[in-house]
């Protein structure tokens, strides 16, 4: 079990204005070493803080690590392709920055690593992250991406490459909070080896111009497992095109994709894709949508693809409004109409994810609580 490094303090503690702190808090970033195992903060292209408080967890900026370890070349741009699209090409530049997180073999750290990508000025933020969980290790990450209040335009481009080695587990929770005119295009790929587990959670509840992403996990190892879950609220003038894809390449590998989408005037494409390519693989895809306004669109596009006979793939998708019968039922227990509606929406967003560490569950709940009062 890795130990906290005695008297460890952030190497450089950046001075942050209260409004910055508030925004960071809304995406799960505490900047408190007591509750985190490592911390990282990048504003635009500059790294403002990078430190690890635990032996067993390495936290560096991507620029630092490219200088430090030659072997990093074996991972850098190996899961995501440089020329995948125009946005990956744009990130393939000198002034790119980002974080490198690595759990050493057998290191199981309960406290999460936090990483914040902060868009301070109205330009393009280019990020490249590399996350490695070595054999038998366990890594919990909160990645909060947000923009400065009043930054009305800008773009966030982020490459994330995950490597989950044998018997390792990564739980990655990404919370986004942007503004009306910001465009966001993450490109993420995870490669999961034998009996590795990759859990990815995504929360978006604030306005945004566009989020477009299709994170993909390749389960190359035997018995590997991936769970993707997302909670997405699209407000007026927001377009969210978000999917999750799992390619089952290892024998006995399995996948679960869950999404809860709410349109309050915005447009949502809720995509999901499971590909079964190996014997005895199993995948389930579940997308549920809730329409809260006469405007807006939820378009659920679940896809299943079998390339091998012995696969078990299934999906369920359902979109609707809040059932009047449920509101009435709760009112018969003394809730007012508004209280009943809020309870049902809150319940709708409450996804139960098996294996999700308590710490991360709490951060997700907090992120939802902070904004739901203003939303519904």
């Amino acid at each position: 079990m890795p130990k906290r490094i005695p008297k460890s303090k952030p190497k450089s503690k950046p001075k942050l204005e209260p409004e910055v702190k508030k925004k960071m808090k809304s995406v799960g970033i505490d900047m408190k070493p007591e509750t985190r195992s490592a911390t990282f903060l990048q504003m635009d292209q500059d790294v403002k803080a990078v430190s690890s408080f635990y032996s067993g967890v390495e936290m560096l900026s991507i620029r630092q690590v490219l200088e430090k370890y030659e072997w990093v070349e074996d991972y850098f741009w190996k899961a995501v392709k440089r020329d995948q699209d125009e946005y990956t090409k744009e990130v393939d530049v000198e002034d790119v920055n980002g974080y490198f997180i690595r759990a050493l073999p057998n290191a199981k750290v309960e406290f999460p690593v936090e990483a914040c990508l902060y868009l301070r000025s109205p330009k393009k933020q280019k990020v490249h992250n590399l996350i490695i969980a070595e054999e038998n290790s366990e890594l919990n990450i909160i990645s909060g991406c947000t923009s400065h209040p009043g930054v009305t335009s800008g773009m966030h481009l982020g490459i994330s490459e995950f490597y989950v080695k044998k018997n390792a587990k990564i739980t990655f929770t990404m919370i986004h909070s942007w503004e009306h005119n910001i465009e966001v295009r993450p490109r993420s790929v995870a490669i999961v080896e034998d009996n590795g587990v990759f859990i990815s959670n995504y929360v978006l509840m604030n306005p945004v111009k566009l989020v477009q992403m299709y994170p993909t996990a390749y389960l190359t190892g035997e018995g590997a497992k991936a769970i993707f879950s997302s909670i997405i609220v699209a407000l007026e003038n927001s377009v969210v095109d978000a999917g999750s894809r799992v390619v089952l390449r290892g024998k006995n590998s399995s996948a679960e994709i869950l999404s809860r989408t709410i349109s309050k005037g915005g447009i949502i494409y809720a995509r999901g894709h499971i590909v079964g390519e190996a014997p005895n693989t199993k995948g389930h895809l579940e997308c549920r949508g809730l329409m809260l306004s006469d405007e807006g669109v939820i378009h659920a596009i679940p896809e299943l693809e079998a390339k091998y006979p012995n696969v078990d793939l299934s999906h369920e998708a359902a979109i609707g409004k809040i059932a009047e019968e449920e509101i009435f039922y709760l009112m018969s227990r003394g809730l007012s109409r508004d209280e009943a509606t809020a309870a049902i929406i809150r319940g709708f967003m409450d996804i139960e994810i098996k294996g999700l560490p308590e710490y991360l569950k709490r951060e997700i709940d907090k992120a939802i609580e902070m904004v739901e009062k203003d939303l519904f």
Partner: protein, 264 residues
């Protein structure tokens, strides 16, 4: 004093009349068993009394504790002391039973620790942190409904088939809970709670003694009498046989019903 007074009530669902000229008086401290064939409007009557917005009152009114509640929303009626257990309540995904129970306890004026006491009694402790009704068996739904009612501690208790699909062992638990709810364990003059219980087979009457039985037939209250007599008649002669006998013996019941039966 009347707890409930339903005057000439007419109800539509989706524009279709399902209850008409329903008159009903429920006195303080008394419990009524409500019988009637499938589709006669029993559940609709309870839904209307508690204020389900899908059930539109087009005629008459509902008086509760001397106040006209016909157009009050459900939560207001509940705050005044009405309470109902549903035959097939909706599953509310993500809304935990415990959270619903906290609201119920607030209505009933109980502290939160009472939730655990009652949950123990109704064998529902393992369900507190589960989504309400989601994946509950038939008997579990009934116990969950009664648990919610016990915490709400209503003056007027409506139960929609609390006994359907319940095994014998659970029947004892449910019977006890209902007796407590309706204060049937107290002496007749001491009872303040009133009840209206829908039952098909009458099983619940083996555990809870009702003061009166009513038959709802084709959208109207057609017969009032001793609940055990009525049950015996129904099982012997069917609803129509029971009503014919009722009409012979109680001439004062309305003519329309008589005609209805004779036309058949």
């Amino acid at each position: 004093m009347d707890t409930l007074r339903v005057v000439n009530l007419g109800v539509k669902v989706d524009g279709k009349k399902i209850l008409e000229h329903v008159n009903l008086y429920v006195q303080k401290g008394q419990t009524y068993a409500l019988f009637g064939p499938n589709g006669s409007g029993k559940s609709s009557l309870l839904m209307t009394l508690i204020g389900n917005p899908a059930f539109k009152v087009f005629d008459g009114r509902i008086m509760f504790k001397g106040k006209d509640v016909t157009s009050l929303p459900t939560d207001e009626r509940v705050k005044m002391g009405m309470g109902m257990s549903f035959q097939t309540p909706p599953k509310v995904s993500g809304v935990k039973l415990i959270d619903v129970l906290k609201y119920c306890a607030k209505i009933g004026g109980y502290e939160e620790k009472k939730i655990y006491e009652f949950a123990e009694m109704l064998k529902m402790r393992d369900f507190l942190y589960r989504s309400v009704n989601l994946g509950f068996s038939g008997g579990e739904v009934k116990r969950s409904e009664l648990l919610q009612l016990m915490l709400m501690n209503p003056e007027f208790v409506m139960l929609d088939e609390p006994d359907s699909g319940v095994d014998l062992e659970n029947m004892v638990v449910i019977g006890e809970a209902i007796n407590k709810l309706l204060e049937r364990d107290k002496k007749e003059g001491k009872r303040k709670r009133s009840g209206l219980i829908i039952t098909h087979q009458g099983h619940i009457l083996d555990y809870v003694d009702a003061d009166y039985g009513l038959i709802l037939y084709k959208g109207r209250i057609a017969c009032i009498g001793n609940p055990y007599d009525i049950l015996k008649q129904i099982s012997k002669n069917g609803y129509e046989g029971c009503l014919k006998r009722c009409l012979r013996e109680f001439q004062n019941l309305n003519q329309n019903l008589n005609q209805n039966l004779n036309q058949k």
